[in-house]
Symmetry: D2
Subunit: 320 residues, 4 copies
């Protein structure tokens, strides 16, 4: 991803006015400040059909990493060239603590089944909108036709080609109908007034904390998610990866764009040493050495499984 996508999310008038209010406030600060990120602050970037991500706050910049690594009295920064070298050294040798000195806080709207994967990253702070206390809107995720993947026949966790024709249409119809019905019943059981249903005076309604169980996993929830730069990189190395499910990767891709604006030197090092790097096993290294020595190697005498062999050959052939 080269540039973060432009905001195109549609907000309610109330939300728009709150966002404008936040953007209109200016303060003077002595803190490390990143102009490029200030530009993006509070603006929601659209993800999937109804989701978004927006940066709500941040702390630190590339220099804060350098400052912490040097435990310096000042900003820690020498010349940009030296800072870049130090940051690359830290990433390369997995000196992770200086990257823990920067924080970023997002407001995210996402389907519940994505939230269930996301929350497994335990080293972040979360405040989720509570359907125990509050009412969930009738908003749910339906994949776009190009993302209606079939089950991979080769791989239990993979996706195969895209569904087509009537089968695709049926899936989208079913997802929409079941979610809509689930939400209508959710409202009805609680006997809430959501503007569409009429409340009945003689019914108390089921408790919210119970009624929510009737919603399907594609309903949208939202949360504040705060993470330090080290843990953000760990999250992105797993979730911006091609093995991640498309729906969470869509969020990771937007976060990569934001990451780049925030701490460009760290972003560059992260791409070189993590995202586009490869870990080679002892056996794979041995194969590469033999190949470099001009020795012919076959999978059978390589010490690698068929799958590992295939992956190694792919890495060696890849143009990146």
């Amino acid at each position: 991803m080269n540039e973060p996508p432009l905001p195109k999310i549609s907000l309610t008038p109330e939300q728009e006015s709150e966002l404008s209010m936040q953007r209109s406030l200016h303060f003077e600060t002595h803190r490390a400040t990143v102009l490029a990120l200030e530009e993006l602050l509070y603006k929601p970037f659209s993800v999937l059909d109804h989701g978004f991500i927006r940066v709500v706050d941040y702390m630190g910049d590339d220099s804060a990493v350098v400052q912490a690594a040097r435990v310096s009295y000042g900003t820690g920064t020498k010349k940009v060239r030296e800072d870049r070298g130090l940051i690359r050294y830290l990433i390369r040798h997995r000196h992770t603590t200086p990257f823990e000195m920067c924080e970023i806080k997002f407001h995210v709207k996402l389907p519940i089944f994505v939230a269930r994967q996301w929350v497994r990253h335990r080293t972040a702070n979360i405040n989720e909108y509570s359907a125990r206390y509050s009412f969930l809107d009738n908003e749910f995720y339906v994949p776009a036709p190009e993302n209606l993947a079939t089950q991979s026949s080769a791989n239990r966790q993979g996706r195969g080609p895209v569904l087509e024709g009537e089968e695709a249409a049926n899936v989208m119809r079913v997802l929409r109908e079941d979610a809509s019905r689930a939400h209508a019943h959710y409202v009805e059981m609680m006997n809430e007034d959501d503007g569409r249903t009429v409340q009945e005076d003689d019914r108390q309604g089921l408790a919210r904390e119970l009624a929510r169980m009737n919603l399907t996993l594609n309903f949208y929830t939202q949360w504040y998610w705060k993470v330090n730069l080290h843990n953000l990189m760990h999250f992105l190395s797993l979730r911006a990866d091609k093995h991640a499910q498309y729906e969470i990767r869509a969020y990771a891709d937007v976060m990569l764009g934001i990451f780049k604006q925030w701490v460009p030197l760290t972003y560059e090092a992260f791409c070189d040493y993590r995202l586009r790097a490869t870990e080679m096993s002892a056996q794979a290294l041995a194969v590469v050495r033999r190949l470099l020595a001009g020795e012919p190697v076959e999978q059978l005498d390589s010490g690698l499984s068929k799958r590992e062999w295939r992956e190694l050959m792919a890495v060696m052939a890849r143009d990146i």
Copy 2:
């Protein structure tokens, strides 16, 4: 809860035979071993309508807490009376690290909406059954009639009295029908053979990682959940509390019974200094002091809000 409930869960023949196999294995060990917990090992305790908890492994006992607190070369144990005194001292003064030296591992089957609350306790280890790779059975939670609570009118997060008559019947019917339909469509979209539906040869089927989004939040999932004794106590102090949602409290109550069998001295101290204890604010303490001095105190001149006043009066009157 006095005694852990007897196992009454119905398992499939395969699960039964795996459980029997595990129970039939005996090993000799030099490790700290708790007879009462060995008795419960692997046996599932029924929770809600289809859920269960069973202990899969454990490490340490009351003596291990003492041993760690003393950093001793042997078992750390002196006399039971001294050990009990030390454990009570540790709990009372929040010396938490010795309790981190014991671990317990559970296998839990629970509704997804309960799992979503549970997972917010980040200081535990989890392996959850993956609906991305595997097939979820047609099992979902429907509250028993006595748990069909209404929304509290006084308290946004509370439950009021129980629904009755036709309204209750309707809720249970809706929950059952929506979940059943969601699961039937889940199977159909994947074009899986679940023994009830006929697979169609000309359809590839939607990927599992997508089809699962059609399931409702009351479907059962399961996981291995491992936690140390300190974090277990923290979990129970929040989830065995009367403010916790009934459905997660049902699990916490069973865990309390297991906890008692495992480390009885720690359990006793936990009940006295946490579960049945109260934290008094500076203002509440001042009120109690004035009352003890024979001075009349009213809410208005107490420094407490109405709600705090009510809570303090309730605590002072409570028989425990």
Copy 3:
């Protein structure tokens, strides 16, 4: 502590100029900004004989807590009175996650034996000055005469009265001489040029990572320490407590003053519900109930140990 002490630390000219440089920089930001904390930013507050604490960065304010608790689109803030009420409610009911949304980063200079206690708080981020790579200055802690406490005769972990006369003088002399000698040997073994010792050309010198082992535990180290507001409160509830060792409490006290400037509503609630609050065990509560009912209670029939009885009586009598 009412007001944070004025900075009185003496820095080197280089450090002074770096600090001035940082203070001279002004940026415009849309982020939550706390004027009172901006005033303190970067300025070192003196602690013990050579230590200091200074705030290097922060993120969030009282409103950020409210915003996260409401998962709101805007600042979350309604009226100050409502915000205050919500924050007190959150603290009282141990809803801790909204306080995790604020962060603060300190630069701290502290004796190694204090750092060893401090580091046991694992939920913070640390970058410590490395004596493996760098040279440690000849700066060590010697207690002021009024802090030269004797071992308590009643309590294994407590302090008794202060040493006096010749014994006090001897202790201070020994601490000074042993530390000075240790540092001189440290420099000599490394064959470093510290401006006082002459380097010998024919010696390579011991590796820094080894030579440091000759230093005593009162030598000063320094680190960047970053923590969220929830974990800061946990740290302060233990380390600003009268049971904490004086030397770490001296740091905690300064941090309390900074905390108050940063998030005054949270600070107030923290004082009322944590710092000046008391946890009463089930047995202690029973005693208070009996006393309120006019029943005479003695330690022997109270269910409390002698020590617990003493502590309860002290709490009940305390003027705060």
Copy 4:
């Protein structure tokens, strides 16, 4: 390291008898049990001049990893060949959670400066012997002559060749004399009776929590350290590495031997995919591809720094 070293540590008679008592206890358990590790249980392995490591408890085995990965009702184990394949797959794809299901607890005696590095691994549980409450023995680390390394001239964090002759002798003498004197003063200031010093009746003695600051960083402390298998591997990948300081690596090497006895399949996968594996940056991969295509590559046109180039050439030439 092929085999864990035989125990050769000398214990006091009291410690010996406590160890024998623990070894003499046998229990029956249904839990996963590892015979090879039972053999090692409680026995101290010598490290450095006065340190040791011993296993005090453990939980789980290779099968427990498999069981958790499959969230199975039984032991999870199919055939050994399949289990091995699954474990290698999990390590290779960084599916880390199943390895969190095993725990091991060590009792370790180690110099304070080593403990200071060790404690930076925050995802473990620690109970350290407290010099605030208890008396520290007169035991300190002095490097063996073959470990008296000089400071590397090429690398700020590295070691050069070993000190020799008089310079070596001087260093060892200084370390010994300063530590001995520090301890004698420690005892004297506290006015303790350590069997060598005479207590003076007319002195109360300095509080232990203060006197300890006079000890040097090579004094031995001890702790209980408990960690799960995932975090143990992370610890070992950093501390059994050639960049780690020799003194902590000595402990890591012994732990590698214990690890191998405990979970041999996981150990094998760890060696292949972590310990003897290499991470290749995007640039390094490009160089390897060009070399495999028969293209000549020089450092200057490689996109690698001199240091990275040197490291890559070393990896490619290495026989492992």
